[in-house]
Structure formats: structure tokens, C-alpha cells
């Protein structure tokens, strides 16, 4: 099977101490977002999360989280808020997700389960 070549490699990381969800992938030549690796951690300290993320040279997008952003420094490409009072932003994310899905520009590796339906991370990674 041909190796997939990524034009841009990205990481989406939704961090909370109790439940951290990391999706790793990239955008290929056909402008398709492919997510090949999923990391789910529970009770995972910020320091170790930052170390894990530093193993990759990808652009990293995280949820609004000041300590994590400080820990990964300039590697952080951007932050997004998923607070309840930030619903309009969530709607934009959902629209983007649906648009990607509808136009066939989003695919997952077979072992990426995204348990807990933490799918906004997919779109999140697209940034």
C-alpha cells in the first residue's frame, strides 16, 4: 500500500486532566484530512501531555487551556473554547465538520475509534 504523503501535519488535542483526547493526522495532496492516530489518556498531567506532543513536529491545536499552552509554547498553533457560552463557535465547528464529511474530505484510520464521540476534535485538527 502506498504511503500517504501529508502536505500539512496536524494535531488536535482536547486536554482535561481526567480525559485527554489527542488526534494526529494531516492533510494529504487531495486536500483530505486523514486522522491516523488516536491517543486517549485519563488523569494525565500537563507536563506529560506536553512531552507527548513534543514527539511530533506537527501544528498543534488545543482547547483553551493556559497551562498547556504555556507548556507547549510556540508549538501551539491556536486555541478554541468549548465553553457552553461559546456555542456560536461550536456551531461553526460543527458546520465545518459536516462540510468536510459531505465533501468526502475527512477519513479515519481503521483503529481510530474516537470513543465518546469526541468528534469535534476531528474538525479541530483540521485547523
Amino acid at each position: 500500500m502506498d504511503k500517504i504523503e501529508y502536505v500539512i501535519e496536524v494535531i488536535g488535542c482536547f486536554y482535561s486532566f481526567k480525559n485527554t483526547h489527542i488526534l494526529i493526522g494531516g492533510i494529504d495532496k487531495k486536500n483530505q484530512l486523514r486522522l491516523h492516530t488516536e491517543v486517549v489518556k485519563n488523569n494525565f498531567p500537563i507536563k506529560e501531555t506536553a512531552e507527548l506532543l513534543n514527539n511530533y513536529s506537527h501544528n498543534i491545536w488545543i482547547n483553551t487551556h493556559e497551562p498547556l499552552r504555556t507548556a507547549i509554547g510556540s508549538r501551539c498553533k491556536g486555541e478554541l473554547s468549548f465553553d457552553k457560552d461559546n456555542e456560536s463557535e461550536n456551531e461553526v465547528l460543527e458546520d465545518l465538520f459536516l462540510s468536510l464529511k459531505q465533501s468526502g474530505r475527512l477519513s479515519l484510520a481503521t483503529d481510530v475509534k474516537i470513543q465518546g464521540n469526541n468528534a469535534h476534535n476531528c474538525t479541530f485538527a483540521h485547523f
Binding site: I4, N19, K101, L108, A109, T110, G116, N117, N118
Partner: protein
Amino acid sequence: MALMGIDPLAQKLKSIKDSFEAELENNLKPVPERWEDFVSLCVIRSGGKMVKFKPYFYQSLLTRLMDEYNNIVIVKSRQLGITQAVSSKFLHRACLSPAYSSMAFLRSQEDASALARRTRQMLGGLAEYVKADNDNVGFLKLKNCGEIYFKNSSKEGSRSYDSVLDFLFDEAAFSENVEQIYAASSPSGALAGDLTTKLIVSTPSAKSGWYWQKLSENNDRDVEDLCKLVASGKLHREIPGVFWWIDDAGVVKLILHWLCHPVYSQIPDYLKYRQQQDGTDFETVLREYDLRFVDSAVSVFSSDLVRDAALGEFEDFLDDSANYFIGIDTATVGSDYFVAIVLKERGGKYSVVAIYRRRQQTSEYNLYQIGNLINLYHPRGIGIETTGGTGQLYLERLSKDFEGYDFHAIRTTGDSKPVLIGTLQLALEKRILEFPEGCSIGDELLSFRRQGKKLEAAPGKHDDTVLALCFALSVAEKAEKGWNLSDLPRFKHG
């Protein structure tokens, strides 16, 4: 003495009057033994005039059935004079026996007072036979004879009364407390034994609640179908509009439709006439006059849709091609049930494949059972009601034990509940939801009603499975609407 001195003539006149009244009282005529003869003496208001009561055939039939049977359940059109006939029967019995006592439960205080007035009015033509001994609105005591109570069924019961022979539960489908009042009436009538007659009377309402249960139980045929046949004129016994039978428990079930009324049956297109007269919608006319059990104002879920949806089956295995969702309505140690419903989604259709429904169990036991469901079905979403606090504890515990699963805290409020129920209604109407026949969902859907602004189970019924189903559907719908990953293309990595 002073009066005698001043006006001996006035005193003499008073004495004559007193002795005349005493004479009259002692020489009251005997009340006719036959009800028909008795009521022909009574005065009633009819068609804007005061006239002698001439009973229609079906009224006579009802009183004959009252003489023969202890329990009668009646479903009737409005304006047939059934309450009047029953109260005249009570009055007749009260006139015949000093030990007689009966109770009429009406829907409101106004109704109770109105029937009391009408019953007193009937006495107007019986001056030579019987006299009232009091002037109370809610209680009629006849001199040297029996008594009748007129009560408001929304407030009063019959506790603390003994040896009551006859009971009328009027408009039973519309009285919230009728079940409790009926239950409390049994001790009141216990001493009377076989002599008691209990009449449960109403125009149709929704196909749920205590009245519907009483009407539809112990029959070997569908009451709704019978009502439709009677209304169409295709089925009757003595005359069109009248049908009755004895059910398996010995209770008389009596259907009375306006076709049995000699005046109404002659009016062309009577239902349309009624609609114009009453200024109401046609559904109400059908319910109140044509014996239709339709009531969107009370019943939330259409019985036809509920019946059509009861086609599913339980499944205790995982279907890899389907998505699963769980809705949980928690409960503590009270009479409410702790319910978890597993909803399977496949090809845009939902089916209930498992139900956990227990009450008065420990939280550990409930958590263990929910854990089993999660481990078996790997749900994509789990909705837990957190209003009230108990659900929050379950949510926290389950989220901790099953990390990686998508838990949704659902709050039911006056605003959110109609939306949740609306989702369920829509799923039934679109015929994309099914559940196993005979499970508690069907019964609870049928007894779920709208009481004013509130949406809740009928008195004495539960709505826990309905709500758990709403939660599961709500979570499923959210997943379908937005972040659904099931149809994404897959590739092999590494």
C-alpha cells in the same frame, strides 16, 4: 300568652295551620313503587320549561339495570339526561326507605350544586308525597326518608360515611381523584353488601386513565370498536344508540349514543348542529357526542401511533452495523422506577432493544446493571437526567467508571420537557421508532397526558420509561445531527 290576649283570632289561625300541616305530614300519600310512576310526578326543567319528567326508553333501561346489577360503567354522549335519571333513581330510593343513603360525585362544586338544585326541583311535584328535611346545597335529607349527598369529586371523598348504598361517579374520565374516591367508597358501602349500586359514568376522553381502564377491562371485545359501531348505527340492542353487555367480572357496560334520543336523532347532521351550537372544534364534538376516544388536549401520544410502533423485539447481542444510545431516568427509594433504555439506530430507524426498569434498588445495583448494558452495547451516547440531583451522582460515577464514553447531562424543565416529548412524538409520527410489544413503554405512552401546562403520567401511572426513551432519542438525535462518525471513510494506517 301576650299574643293570645291581643289577638285570639290570629292564635287560632296559627293553631289551625299547624294542625293542618301536621295532618298533611301524617297523611302524605305513599310514594309510587315503580320508578316510572314516581318520576312522572317529578318536575324538571326541559327545553326552557318546567315539565313533568317523562323518561326516555334508555333512562328507564338504566334504572332497570340499576335494580338488577351492582356495578355499571357507562360511556355516553353528552346531553342525554343520564345524571338526571340517576339522581331521580336515587331520589326514588330515598323516598322509599328511611335507611337509604347515596352519594353523587360530580366533577366540580358547581356541578354538584347544580345537580342538588335539580334534584330538589324534582321534589316540587311531590309535595303530597314527600318533604325535604333540610335546606343544604350538598346534602338532601327527606323527612322520615333517606338522604342523598352531592359531592365535588375534585375535593371530597366518602370516608367517614357508612352504609352508603348507591354511588354515582359522574364524568369519571375527567376527574383527577376519582380512583382514590372510588377506592375510599368501598368501606362506605361494605355494610350494604349486595344492595349497593356503583355507577361510573362519563363521556369519552383519552384511552388512558382510571375510567378507560374500568371501561375496557374484562371485555372480550374492543370497547372503542363497539362505540364506533354503535355511533354508526350498525350495532344496537333494544333501540339504535343503546348497547350493553355484562363483562367477565359481572359489571354492566352500557354504551349510550345520541341516536337513542328521540329528539336529537331527528336533527339532520346532528354533529354539525352541535358544533355550531357549542361553538367548539370538531374533535371535541366527536369526543363529547360521537363516543370517540380522541383527546389531543389531554392525551399526548396518539394510541394508533403507539400501537403501530409496538412491533420491535428485545436483543441481547451487539449488532456491529448499528449505533446504540442509552437514556437513563434515575430514581431514589420512592415509588418511581430507575429506568435505562437502550436504543438501537440502524439506517435512520430506532428500536428499543433493552430496558432496565427497577425500583427501590441500591445505587450500586443500578450502577452494576447499567455497566452491563454499556459493556454489551458500547453506546455512542448516554443521556442521564440530572434534574433533582440524584442523576448527577450517577453521571459522575458512570463518567468515572466508563471514561471515553460520551455522557450527556439532561435537565428537564418546563421549557425543555415539551421539546424532549416533541422529539419522541415526531419519531412516532415519522414511524422511525419501535419498541417491543407488551413492554411498559406502550402503557406509559398511552397514560402520558397534558394537564394544563404540565406533561406527566396520569394519576397512579408512571412516565419513567417515556422519559428515559426521550433522553436516549435526544442523545441519538444530537449525534445524528452533528458529530456522526459512523459513515466516514476508513483507511489502513501503518
